[in-house]
Structure formats: structure tokens, C-alpha cells
Amino acid sequence: MSDLRELYQEVILDHYRKPRNFTVLRDATGEGVGHNPLCGDRVRVWVKIGDEGVIEDVAFQGEGCAISTASASLMTEAVKGKTVDEAEDLFARFQSMLTGDDGEHPDLGKLEALAGVREYPIRVKCATLAWHTLHAALARRAADAGTGGVVSTEMS
């Protein structure tokens, strides 16, 4: 097994201690709620999508482990300014880095700090929870958020 420091890299610890975009987004156009019933982690993600389909702002709140908190924080930095399609593509490549056959991760930038999670299959859900929740937020407009379900890591 890889060294612990490959999992708990400095950038992860930094984003865990000081999560970025850790706030409520008042003028959000979409919102998602994610839950990992295995550990009780909950995360809420807000997005504000502009006319051009660009994610103008994104924020999250929640309580979780270092991996899930850092992943959410890094995610908000990565998708801000991207289009919805670009964000979804990033999600797909991020997932492939953690669970794909070859584990390749071209051009994921700071998100590559989470590559070590691949060695800890039980923790992959921690790293992807925020992304699943973002996916739900992008699909669901704020007006509908109250009626939407909760994204669970235990749903297929």
C-alpha cells in the first residue's frame, strides 16, 4: 500500500482545514444535497449558472472527513468559471482517475492531489460525494431543490 502521505497530501490537509467557497450561496440557481449513509457525511452544494451556461459561482457546506471536505473544496475551485458541460466532463475524468482501469488523470490540475484515494476503495465515495451532489445541483434548479431527493452514495 502506498504511503499515507500520498493520501493525505499537504494540499488536501490545507483544503480540509481551510475549505474554499465554504458558504451558503444566496442567489443560487441550483442546489444539491448529498449524503453518505456509511459515515453520516452530508454536503450541500449550490451553483449559480449564468445565461451562457457558465458556472458563475459555486459554494458548499457540510461536515465530513478530510477527503470529502478537501474534495468538495477543490471541486468548487475547479468548476468555477467552467460551463456545465465542462464541469460534467471534469467529473467523469475525476471518477476515472479514482476508479478507472488505468487510473490515468490527464490535466486534472490540483484535483490530482486526490489520486491517492484510488488505493483506498472504501474512501472513493468520500471523494466523489461532492461531485455527485454538484451533478444533482446542475440538473436541478433552485426552485425545485426543496422537492428533490438527496443524493446518496449508496444509490447506484
Partner: protein, 421 residues
């Protein structure tokens, strides 16, 4: 509040001191390495490892003398029946019940509680009646009662616990009321380790004519159980937590109560005669064992209980008590660590939180060091909420754990503190 700990006082030879190195050789699973390091298995409250005697007995039961029970006239069926009923007799002795017919084989404590909820309490439960549990229950002793309350318009009442994780005895007494249909409470808390003064608690309920169920899933591997002395009406244990197979457990029920209860499930094995007009049920315990039972599991459980008896519950108790004291002392000395569950009477369970570190990160780092612990809510979310934490890390010990393993745990937590400095 000081309540004397329940101690086994049955007529038994004084147990010799526990020889942990010899005991460890009985558990092949303990010889593994995990992540390149010798396994330190401290997740016994979730499920215990199995002695070779149990593993061998299970294999042997499938190879020699295996057949269905209670029906064949042939030799193998008679052998299997004798082994199955022999395991029931061992269960009777282990729990201190008066008669073997008071011992029902179930899947585990969860099924036992559901059985009592549906067959004993449900027919007696009226709208507005109350079911009394405690704040330290496992979900398995919460949800069956919630379901029943919802179905019958009854109310679930909860005895609070204090900041150490001990039961509020004054509140317990006040909550025992004229509408209390049953008291169902845990003997030993899985999340906190608290040992409840069950004999006193049962006595208080009995004075008021209130039936009692004691969930002994966590007590069986650590503490003496004597249902006759406790005076409870029902007592449950799970085989896999007491070094036996999964999928098998025991429900003790007082004979006259079991006799008065309708069956839990219908099917074969639980009948005396069946026609399309009418079915006559078998007598307890078979009335509650519909279908082909977990024959081999029961045999394995019998061997597990005999194994525990062979070590001596007093020797186990004394050994684990010392181990718990050592683990508590060493962990409490670490910075940024808070123990959750500090009651005066405890089984060998240490739950803790590390300031600024989520339990799952603690669990991952300990696993990396070869130390297996549970990180999470331990199926006791109300306990987590009571202590204001989302999750804890829990090290739960068995008689095969050692002081060296406590040191490995502590070194692992020190590694956590270093990574999250």
C-alpha cells in the same frame, strides 16, 4: 451513583488466569498481516473472530452427521437433531435459564427483538401505551419498537443518559408508568461500553408488573449472564459477537410467556398438525422456529459458548478489565483526544474522537498501520447526537487482545496526530 457490577455467581470452578498467548493460538485469523503489518483486531464489538474449534465444528457438522432436524427417522437426521438440541442445552446453561424450551434459536439479537415486539408486545399493546428504551440503544432496539408504536398508536419513551454515558436511574424510575407495556434495554452499550445495572433495572420494572427484555448482544462476550438471577422476561444474544457463526443467536423467554405468545412466522417445523381448516402449533421453542433452522450455525454457536465457558467468564472479565484500564489510561494521555463513554462500569470498549480529525480519517490511518477499528456511528446515531459528534472511532477488545496491541493502537493514533498536526 454507584451500582454494583453484575458478576457471575453461579456454581463454577474458580477460573484459572487467562493465558492470552495460548488463547491467541486458538484463533487462526489473528495470524494475518494487514497492509504488511501484523493484524491488530479491535473491532470485536462489530463481530468477533472465531476459534478453530468453532470453524472445525462447522465444517465437521456439514461432513459428518449432517441432515435436516426433527423429521428423519434415519441415523443422520437423529444425529443432527441431537447436535442441534445439544446446542440449545448449551445455550440454556450459558444464559442460566431453567429449561431448554426457554431458548429459541434466532438469526441474532435483531430478530429476537423483532420476535418479542411482534409476538409478545403487539397483541398486548393499546393506543397510548408506552414502550421504554434508553438513549444508548443500538438501532436494533429502537427501530422494531418505533415500527410497532407507529402501527398501534403507542409511544416510545427514552431514558436519558448522563455525560459519562451512564443511565439516568432517577429518570428511569420516573418513566416506568402504568402505561409502560415493556422495558427493552441494552445490557452493555456497543457504542459506549457502559454496563447497565440490569438486575436493579429489571427489579424496578418487575415491582410494577412491567415485562422486560435485555439486549445482551454486547454483554455475552464480556460479562456473566444469568437470566434467573436477573429476573428478566426476555434476553437476547447474537452468536457472531460471542465467537460463533453469523446468522445465529438466542432468545431466552420465560416459559409461560413463550407459551402464551402466537408464532412469529408460520411454516414447517413450527407445527404439530396442519389441515386446510386448522393448524395446531408446536410447543415452544419450536413454535418460534419456522422453517429449516440454521442447524450448523446452532451447532457452531454451542461450541463457541463452550469455548467461552472453558476460559471462564471470571478470567475473561478480569483480563479485559485490566486491558480496558490500560487502554483508557494510554489513550486519555494523548493530546486532542476525547473519550466518549466514561461510565463507572464499562466493558472493554473505548470510543473516542480526535479534535480536528474525522473518525473515518482516523480509521483509515489506523488500518494503514494494521489496526482494525470501527469508525462511524456504530448503529447508535442517538448516542452520537447526545455527545454532539457525527462519528467516533471505537476500539473494542476481546480476551485475545494484548497490551502490545493497545500500544499499537496508541502508536497509530499518534500517527494520526502527526499527519493532522
Amino acid at each position: 451513583m454507584t451500582i454494583a457490577i453484575e458478576r457471575r455467581s453461579k456454581t463454577r470452578q474458580p477460573a484459572p488466569e487467562l493465558d492470552v498467548e495460548r488463547v491467541r493460538r486458538d484463533f487462526p485469523a489473528l495470524e494475518q498481516t494487514v497492509n504488511g503489518k501484523p493484524l491488530v483486531y479491535l473491532d470485536n464489538a462489530a463481530s468477533a473472530q472465531k476459534p478453530r474449534a468453532v470453524v472445525d465444528a462447522v465444517a465437521r457438522a456439514y461432513v459428518e452427521g449432517y441432515a435436516n432436524v426433527h423429521r428423519g427417522v434415519h441415523a443422520l437426521s437423529q444425529q443432527a437433531t441431537a447436535a442441534y438440541e445439544g446446542a440449545r442445552e448449551i445455550g440454556r446453561r450459558f444464559l442460566g435459564a431453567a429449561e431448554a424450551r426457554e431458548i429459541v434459536f434466532v438469526r441474532g439479537s435483531t430478530e429476537a427483538i423483532n420476535l418479542v415486539a411482534q409476538s409478545f408486545v403487539r397483541p398486548r399493546l393499546n393506543r397510548g401505551d408506552e414502550i421504554l428504551i434508553t438513549h444508548m440503544e443500538h438501532h436494533s432496539n429502537i427501530v422494531p419498537w418505533q415500527m410497532l408504536c407507529a402501527a398501534r398508536g403507542a409511544r416510545l419513551k427514552v431514558v436519558p443518559i448522563d455525560d459519562d454515558g451512564a443511565l439516568d436511574l432517577g429518570a428511569y424510575e420516573r418513566l416506568l408508568g402504568p402505561r409502560t407495556a415493556i422495558v427493552s434495554l441494552v445490557h452493555v452499550s456497543n457504542a459506549l461500553g457502559t454496563i447497565n445495572p440490569v438486575r436493579e433495572l429489571v427489579a424496578l420494572a418487575r415491582e410494577r408488573g412491567i415485562p422486560t427484555l435485555i439486549d445482551g448482544a454486547q454483554a455475552a462476550p464480556h460479562t456473566a449472564i444469568d437470566v434467573g438471577r436477573l429476573g428478566c422476561d426476555f434476553y437476547t444474544i447474537s452468536g457472531h459477537k460471542v465467537f460463533g457463526p453469523t446468522g445465529i443467536g438466542l432468545l431466552y423467554g420465560r416459559a409461560e410467556l413463550l407459551a402464551s405468545m402466537p408464532p412469529y412466522q408460520g411454516g414447517g417445523e413450527m407445527i404439530r398438525s396442519v389441515s386446510f381448516d386448522r393448524t395446531e402449533y408446536a410447543e415452544p421453542p419450536h413454535k418460534f422456529e419456522a422453517g429449516t433452522p440454521h442447524i450448523v450455525g446452532a451447532i457452531g454457536l454451542g461450541v463457541a459458548l463452550e469455548y467461552v465457558e472453558s476460559l471462564g467468564i471470571d478470567a475473561i472479565d478480569a483480563y479485559e478489565h485490566e486491558l480496558l484500564a490500560y487502554a483508557t489510561e494510554r489513550l486519555a494521555a494523548l493530546p486532542r483526544l476525547r473519550l466518549i463513554g466514561t461510565a463507572g462500569q464499562k466493558a472493554a470498549v473505548v470510543s473516542f474522537v480526535v479534535d480536528g480529525v474525522h473518525a473515518h480519517d482516523v480509521g483509515t490511518i489506523l488500518d494503514h498501520e494494521g489496526v482494525a477499528v470501527r469508525a462511524g456511528h456504530h448503529c447508535a446515531q442517538p448516542v452520537m447526537e447526545r455527545f454532539g459528534v457525527a462519528a467516533t472511532t471505537r476500539a473494542s477488545f476481546a480476551f485475545y487482545n494484548t497490551r502490545d496491541e493497545v500500544d499499537r493502537l496508541v502508536a497509530g493514533v499518534e500517527r494520526v496526530l502527526e499527519v493532522f498536526s
